[in-house]
């Protein structure tokens, strides 16, 4: 007889809701998303959960499991033996239904970042060492767990003043591209609000792709902003170099 595990799953919509308990027979290698599928198949066919790949690739299944921010498809239930598994939707984004949240704000902001502006026309050849740095950022699967944990968005709801860590690494990916000629510093310091980040690193902690968001993305960007706005001497040297 397989052991039963208990899941307590948020059911509700933007008007509110509550957690409902379900029992699921545990199987070897089972992840929380499997357990939710079992509930959908047996107890609650109307349970809403967004997923696509079940392989930590599509970034659809972000949720909060016992207070930790995780992908449902990469969290094994046997990590929680003897505990009730509480599953809740991402806190920072408006709930549509049950575990599904509306993350469209992130895409709206992404569209506002000026795209790649290459110095020469494609196709071009790049050296691997020149793109290693930005390939780390391109591993992003847009799960928005970093956006969800970032206290600027989560606790201070400052979406109007800060675009969040995912957007910062989008900036970094473009700014550090060896052929990019764009200058996004004014936007970065202004509307995108990099100054709102206080480098407390929670985004780096939750990123399922292991992207060093703070150390390799945000801090180097802050230094680039400082080059322009806080370092007249350095600015002069750079001007002379040009």
């Amino acid at each position: 007889m397989p052991e039963d595990i208990t899941l307590s799953v948020f059911r509700g919509d933007k008007g509110g809701g509550d957690e409902v308990e379900y029992k699921v027979p545990m199987q070897t290698g089972m992840v929380v998303l499997d357990a939710l599928h079992f509930i959908q198949a047996h107890d609650a066919p109307d349970l809403a959960v967004r997923w696509n790949c079940k392989a930590a690739h599509c970034g659809s299944c972000s949720a909060e499991i016992n207070g930790s921010l995780k992908l449902l498809c990469k969290t094994r239930v046997d990590d929680y033996v003897g505990e009730v598994i509480h599953v809740r939707p991402m806190h920072t984004f408006p709930v549509i239904k049950d575990l599904v949240t509306d993350v469209s704000w992130n895409y709206d902001m992404l569209r506002q970042v000026p795209a790649f502006q290459p110095a020469i026309k494609a196709p071009f050849t790049l050296q691997q060492r020149d793109v290693d740095r930005i390939q780390e950022f391109r591993n992003c699967i847009e799960c928005f767990l970093c956006q969800n944990v970032c206290h600027v968005l989560r606790d201070h709801s400052a979406q109007d003043r800060y675009w969040g860590p995912r957007l910062m690494i989008r900036f970094a990916e473009l700014e550090m591209h060896p052929l990019d000629t764009g200058d996004r510093m004014e936007l970065l310091k202004g509307a995108a609000g990099i100054g709102m980040c206080n480098i407390t690193k929670c985004c780096t902690v939750v990123c399922p792709q292991g992207i060093n968001i703070t150390d390799n993305g945000i801090i180097p960007l802050k230094e680039r902003v400082a080059d322009v706005y806080w370092d007249p001497l350095g600015g002069l040297v750079r001007k002379m170099h040009k």
């Binding site: 690739h57 050296q127 060492r129 944990v149 591209h177 709102m196 206080n198 680039r224």
Partner: protein, 247 residues
């Protein structure tokens, strides 16, 4: 597309991590006690020298006619250097300001402006304090060399080794700095020369990036070691202990 980072690692088993308040509490205690010790030095101690051993809190001794308390003359720069350090900033925001105390732990404070306004916007001046810190470091290296010269002759005492270790740790901390990482190569967009070989900046940046991964560890160890070095010299000064001379 590349494999995901998580699928490359064997499934991480549930880690029994420490409660979330442990790290911020440690920060508050460690920085708080260090701060109190420093204040005590500033107001109640006028020197930190025992023969050829000079406490890092009192170096350089030369003040070029500028009249302030000896410890203040030396301390403003490392203090501002550390206070604006990206690593300490994280620890201070988490430990003292609870902004946030730990990840996904709700915050009580309503108003938040991050580093967009004074005083926190001044953390952008970190690179300037780095320049000063390097100058101070030169003096500390001179002191460390002098710690091996007893009455004009080379010698090695426990104090000499402590002072050498101290300045090595401080150098590790200073040269693993994020601002230095940017300065040395992080700010450039291209890492390859026309002939396809890596640029010098790339090589340097790569090296500093590796050190930078341990910047937080260097930050703590170097801080505790500066403290320990001062305590050691102070105990010698008061005759509580005697230096061990190896030769």
């Amino acid at each position: 597309m590349a494999q995901t980072a998580e699928s490359l690692q064997p499934a991480k088993r549930k880690s029994h991590s420490l409660p979330y308040w442990v790290e911020p509490t440690f920060t508050v205690l460690a920085l708080g006690l260090f701060g109190l010790y420093t204040l005590w030095l500033v107001f109640f101690q006028s020197s930190g020298q025992f023969h050829n051993y000079l406490s890092p809190f009192f170096s350089p001794t030369e003040s070029w006619g500028i009249k302030v308390l000896p410890a203040i003359w030396v301390l403003w720069s490392p203090l501002l250097f550390r206070a604006t350090c990206y690593y300490y900033r994280k620890e201070i925001y988490r430990g003292f300001l609870h902004d946030p105390m730990s990840c996904a732990v709700p915050e009580k404070r309503k108003h938040y402006f991050g580093e967009t306004r004074f005083p926190f916007s001044w953390t952008n001046l970190h690179r300037w304090f780095w320049y000063v810190a390097v100058i101070v470091l030169v003096f500390l290296w001179i002191d460390a060399v002098q710690a091996f010269i007893f009455n004009g002759h080379f010698g090695v005492g426990l104090g000499s080794l402590i002072m050498l270790a101290n300045v090595i740790l401080l150098s590790a901390y200073t040269f693993s700095c994020h601002a230095f990482r940017h300065l040395i190569g992080g700010g450039s967009q291209k890492f390859t020369c026309a002939d396809g070989r890596p640029t010098t900046r790339y090589k340097l940046w790569n090296r500093i990036s590796a050190w930078n991964e341990n910047h937080g560890t260097y930050a703590w160890i170097s801080m505790f070691f500066v403290w320990f070095t001062d305590v050691y010299i102070r105990l010698l000064m008061h005759g509580v202990i005697h230096d061990v001379r190896f030769f």
